[in-house]
Subunit: 340 residues, 2 copies
């Protein structure tokens, strides 16, 4: 074990606007012992994801908010270090919503095993986990791309966006990504194989023109991770029967009041287009299919991924704030330790 | 024939904001003669529909705008009065986009026959025509109502809305309508059989509370004909996996600049809901199926309709302005004459 105490990050405040490290409090507690039917895991990798900003709010969403004074919520890949549960043995590698802490107790509900002989453990939180499955089911089921169409994705170098563009290519589409900065744009075209990239930081003055140049045949599918004015601009470039998959809106997460914009309904009506919100949990019963297909594409070299790993659970809040500012490059993880 | 001249309404101006009668000009022309392969119809009923406001604008939409100085566009049911076309004979009753005029020439392209032995001629412009098919295909294909769900429709006493609610009832749903004034609300509940009505004029101060009371189990399908703040309010009451069919936005048609509102994307994401624009022409190849089913429901007494008939083509602009103000009650028609 890494220490005699369990370091835990609690949600200390519900921030208005941009969160700060002061909104989280690091506390130490004894390493828990498993009760009857329970087991204890030690965290190996902790996931950081944009949706966590939503959990810091006390409003209705698809999941209850994180509670003030309690461990901040989040997905973790860990190793069982003690068990009184017949289904989980010491040494097993598992993932679950264990939260921002080094050790957690579980009765096994909602826990998934990780076969670390198939792929690195960390991929269970990324390309073969929630972000990867979000891209897979979200693009295929909501976006419904057809070969020859143009698929645009925002936050295109991120854990979800990078996968969306690569699956679009596998399906024979033109893949275009929106990302921030020359390095990320070069990565999605030169490494991931996107057909074009739009640097939203460079195109701030005329995103419309930049998108139009990158999507000369218009936009058939928009997989949206950022919301905001980017979405408004995309709506002016969609094609007949376009599909807009609403996966996230990271540009709006720190707003203290809703941003006002022209309604999208005229663009949807004129183009008989569809805009649909998605959440990966709705395809939970098809997870095995998604993991198998994605793992096969990885094996075939058709699907690449990138991880941005910060060392040390003490750095969780800082890494989370970087993610919200778009300063991460690839799936954001915090490494807490190695398996025994 | 009704006269020696052809009275025609031209689009004289493109209004900013609310149109006035001065935006149309009545001119007289000779009754046309058919050329080779052509025929001439005399108008019996002229349709007035909210979409016509959009055609008065010079902007991209799903159809080209009406041209300044040309006959205003619109659907007409008429009788063939002269023919040099082998497929159409004198006396035939037909419908087509003949525009706001008493006589029109056609080569038969896009013209549909009306079997006046099956239903009154006027229904070809209403319940068995464009508005009725919009309700039928829009609700069933985009709204996808399931028995037991709550279906809400705006402009519920109108040519489309009244049909949407009745089909929702046929499909086993709770049907709730939004309409303006006590008379229209009583009509949709007492005559058409809606489960509840919300008078948006009476509920102006708190539409949210009125909708919540009328939809105690939330809203699964919203068939939207009005857009605007009503749509914004409905979005706060939708259920998981709700479907929002965007058919029209009559409350916004006279705006000179887009109205600003909070984006609907958060509500769509939290509820994994769908918002989709629709246009009846997309189901043109299934028109016969729709007409047959709707006619059967009318025969079985399951589907009622109401027409608001203004007499005389000279009253077209006034009747159109009434429609835009929501002062019509039922499908708005102008009667120009009787068949021979």
């Amino acid at each position: 074990m890494t220490g005699e105490t369990n370091r835990r990050w609690l949600l200390a405040n519900r921030p208005a606007g941009e969160p700060s490290e002061n909104d989280f409090e690091l506390v130490e507690a004894p390493v828990p012992e498993p009760g009857a039917g329970e087991f204890v895991i030690r965290a190996l990798y902790l996931s950081l994801d944009p949706y966590m900003r939503g959990r810091m709010r006390d409003v209705k969403s698809y999941a209850p908010p994180a509670a003030l004074g309690e461990v901040m919520v989040g997905g973790v890949a860990g190793q069982v270090v003690a068990s009184k549960n017949a289904d989980f043995s010491e040494g097993d590698i598992v993932q679950g919503n264990f939260g921002w802490q080094e050790y957690a107790v579980s009765d096994g509900a909602g826990i998934q095993r990780i076969d670390s002989s198939l792929a690195p453990i960390s991929t269970a939180l990324g390309i073969l986990g929630m972000p990867g499955m979000t891209a897979y089911f979200g693009l295929l089921e909501v976006g419904q791309p057809v070969a020859g169409e143009t698929v645009l994705v925002s936050a295109a170098s991120g854990a979800v966006g990078g996968v969306v563009g690569q699956i679009a290519k596998i399906k024979g589409c033109r893949a275009v990504g929106i990302a921030g900065g020359a390095e990320k744009c070069a990565y999605i075209t030169d490494v991931l194989g996107f057909d074009a990239a739009v640097d939203y930081k460079a195109a701030l003055d005329d995103l419309h023109a930049a998108l139009k140049e990158a999507c000369p045949d218009g936009i058939d599918v928009y997989f949206d991770n950022v919301g905001g004015a980017t979405l408004d601009t995309v709506l002016s470039l969609i094609n007949l029967h376009a599909r807009i998959a609403i996966c996230g809106m990271i540009s709006e997460y720190n707003l203290t009041a809703p941003e006002m914009a022209a309604r999208p309904t005229r663009a949807l009506l004129v183009n008989r287009a569809r805009m649909q919100g998605l959440l990966v949990h709705d395809w939970a019963d098809r997870r095995a299919e998604g993991v198998a297909q994605m793992a096969a594409w990885i094996d075939e070299g058709k699907l690449l991924y990138k991880e941005d790993v910060v060392e040390g659970i003490e750095n969780m809040p800082g890494a989370f704030l970087r993610l919200l500012r778009g300063e991460n490059f690839g799936k954001q993880l915090v490494k807490a330790g190695d398996p025994d």
